[in-house]
């Protein structure tokens, strides 16, 4: 098990709601029904070290409800490492140590009283390579998370499977072969199945680690569109190497870069439009313009 919280962090007060959080500035649509305007997740001085060697440190930012937050930065800057800290995937790595404070709503992610399995059903994850369970059918994959969480009623499972597959834009192509093995799907379909599988558990936050990097451009485009649609349903944090992708899908952006000692640090965090057009830090400008990394 991972040790954490080397220092007690100050209790966090929720940020007051702002107009910007509740109104879509292009359409004027008001989100008051869903969006609280409060951050769903808060990172305070988060760091991750493997066997004493720090991989990423000093990361603080807020993740807002029903927004897409992109983590960008060159290879090795700790994007994956940071993302995996958010749902405690580092628990299985003995040498990993997570420091700082991560809040999910009122839950301290690394508090001793937080059940990691419960946490992971609130913070879902989609991986870089599609990883449906090969021994399970499409249907079983879609409801696997619900079954892990103790749902047994067939009617409930059926309903959830359909709703998740519809949400992942997969229902139309698989509804007549739900019993087929997941391995019969194409790579893009498999990734959408993995998204459906994560959505079925109805997480508050969905973590996606370069979800399109193993896919061709067309499959990538469909996943990107899907991500845009999912925004109404779930808060998304996505790691991407692709600047165009970040520009297309992200509301907010965090730029990580490793310093002299090869440890990743948060260089800049802000709205995507600002980060891509007039960032505060010259290193951000260099990176988004493809000048290094």
């Amino acid at each position: 098990m991972t040790e954490q919280l080397s220092r007690p962090a100050a209790p966090t007060s929720p940020m007051p709601p702002t107009i910007e959080d509740n109104v879509n500035l292009t359409t004027g649509e008001v989100f008051l029904d869903r969006s609280t305007g409060h951050p769903v997740m808060q990172l305070k001085d988060v760091g991750v070290a493997f066997g004493g060697r720090s991989a990423v440190r000093n990361v603080s930012f807020d993740v807002f409800d029903r927004e897409i937050t992109a983590l960008i930065g060159p290879s090795g800057s700790g994007k994956t490492t940071l993302l995996r800290a958010l749902n405690r995937m580092h628990d299985t790595v003995r040498s990993a140590k997570v420091t700082g404070k991560i809040m999910l709503g009122d839950t301290d992610v690394y508090s001793g009283s937080t059940d990691p399995t419960l946490l992971r059903s609130r913070v879902g994850m989609v991986f870089q390579r599609p990883n449906p369970f090969p021994t399970m059918s499409i249907y079983e994959n879609a409801v696997a998370g619900l079954r892990f969480n103790g749902v047994r009623k067939k009617a409930l499972l059926d309903e959830a499977a359909e709703s998740a597959l519809v949400a992942a834009a997969l229902w139309d192509s698989v509804s007549d072969r739900l019993k087929s093995h997941a391995s019969t799907l194409s790579g893009g379909e498999q990734q959408r199945l993995c998204i459906a599988r994560a959505l079925a558990v109805e997480p508050e936050v969905l973590l996606m680690d370069e979800p399109t990097s193993a896919l061709d451009p067309i499959a990538t485009k469909r996943i990107e569109e899907l991500i845009g649609e999912l925004k109404n349903r779930v808060t998304i944090i996505i790691v991407t190497h692709n600047m165009q992708q970040a520009m297309r899908v992200a509301d907010r952006c965090a730029f990580l870069l490793m310093g002299e000692d090869r440890t990743g640090e948060l260089i800049e965090f802000g709205s995507a439009s600002k980060l891509f057009s007039e960032p505060d830090d010259p290193r951000t400008l260099d990176y988004v313009n493809g000048r290094f990394g």
């Binding site: 995937m89 003995r94 399995t117 992971r120 369970f133 021994t135 998370g145 093995h181 994560a198």
Partner: protein, 324 residues
Amino acid sequence: MTATSSEPLGREKRHSRFSLPNGGYRAILIVGGAIFAALVIWFLYSIVNQSRPAFSTLGFSWIIQKTWNPNLHKFGLLPFILGTVETTAIAMVLAVPIGLGSALALAYLVPQRAKVLLGTAVELLAAVPSVVYGLWGVIALAPLFREYVEPFSSSAFGWTGLFNGANSGVGLMLAGTILFVMVLPTMVAISRDVLAVVPKEQVEGAMALGATQWQVLRKVVLPEARAGLLGAFILATGRALGETVAVALVIGNSDYIAHSLKSPSATLASLIINNFGEASGTELAALFGAGLVLLVIGLTVNSIARALVRRAGGSGSVASVAVA
């Protein structure tokens, strides 16, 4: 393996200076395959041929008759078939849960350093010659069984009727136990390797959905390793069925059907090794017949296990790797 593999290999373009021209590859593989096939056919033919006198003088029913008494010209194999199946069953009933549990622990729970140490120990145990296990059974386990295990089993489980008779130490129970100890390292070593190759992505995929460690093992790791685990089972069962010396040392060598787990008994393999020296004529043919029956039992277990894997939808490929 066999000549069928020559096709893809033969077409492969290699540029190493050690590579043979395509024709050379092909020739080596075809000759190798032919030699292998010829050996198998010759072997089977010899056994069948040698056992034929038993079938011609005794008919087919002698195989399942109850009495083995060469003086009376009776060569019934039933006591030995039962002894073989019973000792193997005892061994596997113990080896499957304990072996699987140890393999899971080795693959997923034990810290890295202990993993290496325990892994080496398991591989070492798998390489110990069976006669050593047999000697250990006679010297160390038999007295223990006579003094403690058998009296205890009789008083605790006597009501099952499986533990009647005197406490002699040697017998079905001890033979089954020795076989268990012998096949356990094989079970553990192969199962561990099979479990270890279940992709980390699958494990993490399940974890990320909120699965507990137990659910990850039960719903993702075990189903994916199923084919390979059955391979481990087949290999271990084969070893238990055919084990000769160790069993002959601890089973008590009785030609009668055992009426209790404490009774002395014999297996097809121990029958052969105990009688082969002085046998001739029909008895010798009957011993070859016993070998043939053992072969059939082994093949049956193998094909049942394979059918199970196939029906369960496993790839089967891992199993063949483990068995090969």
